[in-house]
Symmetry: C2
Subunit: 348 residues, 2 copies
DNA sequence: TGCAGGTATTAAAACGTTTTACATTCCTGA
DNA sequence: TCAGGAATGTAAAACGTTTTAATACCTGCA
């Protein structure tokens, strides 16, 4: 490995000057062009690459951001990660991605690793979060700017990016309503998931405002589970139960896309055609949803944008730390978008 | 931040001794238990965490492995990444994941970043690889143990993990054949994908051996593309073309699962029921395949195992580097597994 | 003439480890 | 009594940067 001293020797200047020139430091203002040229030539000739560890040791900067995701296999998070990666890349930051497997111990271990590696910020993709909240409380102590995606933190010192869940379900039910559906079944999310309540609130608000009657017998809840793919099986099972009650419904609104997939399978098995005999709508718009036949009508979360937004929140925090200002992080709520595909149709 | 010197002061020993004890270095053999206890207590009391950058600067080890994936949004790679992550975690290594977006410039940039950060090994998930081979040739120069998943490297110095493509398609066509299918349509992969040739060879070998006649008019090729999700649209389009020729077929074998999804949509649109009127089989067994209705019969690549295998290959390389032995990396071919779901049925 | 201030450059300290080489004491066997 | 090894510990160098503080020269101005 070629060091700065070798570049110094080669160029005939001291390593101080080399450092100043190569980093374009403030002092380089006083260094004449000819000197700069010589140094740059020498550096290039030797193929000099500064040792990042020495550099970090000295000036404390790592140009890395820790990213913790609760479950990588959840298709919901891939586009978010893309958004994060893409935005960080522009800023020459390197994301360090860890997958917590929804386990407390892994969360703690990885958090430790990231802090040891002195990430300059932390982004937490809290999809399908099972870990208790107090773990997240620990985050406050470390004065690393932190943002959470998909969950409202209970503390002010952590930024957050959320989709507007209420608005999302309102759009979905509005769509079903407009298609003439009045007997609608609902598969609500598990109680421990924070998205569950606001999504249901959106439905209720719409129902109240538009005189839509909700049959409580057609409302079922997904069971708790730490597996983000489990809603498929649960959706299948609950839909089967729903069918057994013989209570008629012409549309079904699922907590998320995976639940919708399960529901579709159950309906199909029961000989009920989607969307001809029953419309189905999901939430999230994960990648699968487009490729399913029929394509799933769903509420899209702007996942890449959410990732990008989280980066921009923590960037602000990083600047604050640099300038020794106090860090304050904002909370953002992004609007979803209704994606109409083939799984919904007008009531016959 | 508390340094080793503060621990030294607190415990009453020199930082040398503290270092020896805390690292359990060979010399610690001579340090009496009482001393060790005192030092450990002091370290714990102060909450000492060694500065990894200082440590790396000194002893050159980073305990990180670079992982480069060509396209994160490809559902094929998520389980592989899980396998990699999980295995590295056991060994207290931290993966540093980069997404190359199938762009040459990003590949080079990220490679540079990873090398600057002195990753101790490199794992490349070469799914849906578009980047030219010579870029990969560059990898040889850096004497970092490297393994590739999903593609045979042209050089001996890089390890590789592949699925046995030939065996996979043989299993698939054997399955269709056993169900009585004789008129089978094929959607082959794009020519620039390395998997394409061996998969087709598996089909041909089986056909020859079992007297199955392949109608060349029923064999179409996917176009080239750098998007791993594009086969959906291509599969749809090609299947439509196939149907227009009016040439009968009772089964369709797709290059991969995405292609199969596209084919299923086309068939469904054309009023042809899967599997009653036409069986469809895919390749890969990405997560979607289970959740589609009907569930897709496909050839499963053992993705988590492939990831784990790649880690074990480079681990060997890391050991070699440590002991200053010459690094040699192996090539492994793993067996796929036929997953029979609902998209295939006996010919009527 | 003296001095203020800009320009050009560098020596040396500092960042926090690990490791080499050495120092001291204590024991053991001759 | 002494040589030499084992046990216990440390001073100092080294890893490769960045930055502070300093030096030296020049120019222009009072």
């Amino acid at each position: 490995m070629v060091t700065i001293r070798e570049v110094a020797k080669e160029s005939g200047f001291s390593s101080t000057t080399v450092s100043i020139v190569l980093n374009n430091a403030p002092l380089s203002r006083y260094i004449p062009e000819t000197t700069k040229k010589k140094i740059e030539r020498a550096a290039k000739k030797l193929g000099y690459r500064p040792n990042l560890f020495a550099r970090t040791l000295r000036n404390q900067r790592t140009h890395t951001v820790g990213v913790m995701v609760f479950d990588m296999t959840d298709p919901y998070c891939t586009p978010i990660l893309r958004g994060i990666e893409n935005t960080l890349y522009q800023a020459s930051f390197l994301p360090i991605l860890t997958d917590v497997h929804n386990e407390r111990s892994r969360f703690e271990r990885y958090l430790e690793m990231l802090l040891d590696r002195k990430v300059e910020a932390l982004i937490i993709v809290a999809n399908w979060l099972f870990v208790d909240i107090d773990v997240l409380g620990d985050l406050e102590k470390n004065n690393v700017p932190t943002a959470m995606i998909g969950r409202e933190p209970h503390t002010r010192s952590i930024g957050s990016v959320m989709v507007d869940n209420e608005q999302g379900t309102q759009m979905a039910i509005q769509h079903l309503f407009a298609l003439g559906h009045r007997q609608i079944a609902f598969l609500r999310g598990p109680k421990h998931i924070t998205d569950t309540a606001p999504r249901w609130k959106g439905v209720q608000d719409f129902a109240k405002k538009n005189g839509l009657e909700i049959d409580r017998k057609l409302v079922l809840d997904l069971p708790e589970s730490r597996d983000p793919l489990s809603p498929f099986d649960a959706g299948y099972k609950l839909t089967m139960e729903l069918l057994e009650t013989k209570r008629p419904f012409s549309a079904l609104m699922a907590f998320d896309d995976m639940t919708a997939f399960g529901a579709i399978r159950a309906l199909t098995r029961a000989g009920i055609k989607v969307p001809e005999q029953c419309s189905v709508v999901g939430f999230d718009d994960i990648a699968h949803s487009r490729y399913l036949t029929p394509g799933l009508t769903t509420v899209r979360q702007p996942m890449p944008e959410m990732g990008a937004m989280a980066v921009s929140l923590v960037s602000e925090g990083i600047s604050a730390v640099q300038e020794k200002r106090k860090i304050t992080l904002n909370h953002r709520k992004l609007s979803p978008e209704l994606i109409v595909r083939e799984s919904t149709a007008a009531v016959v």
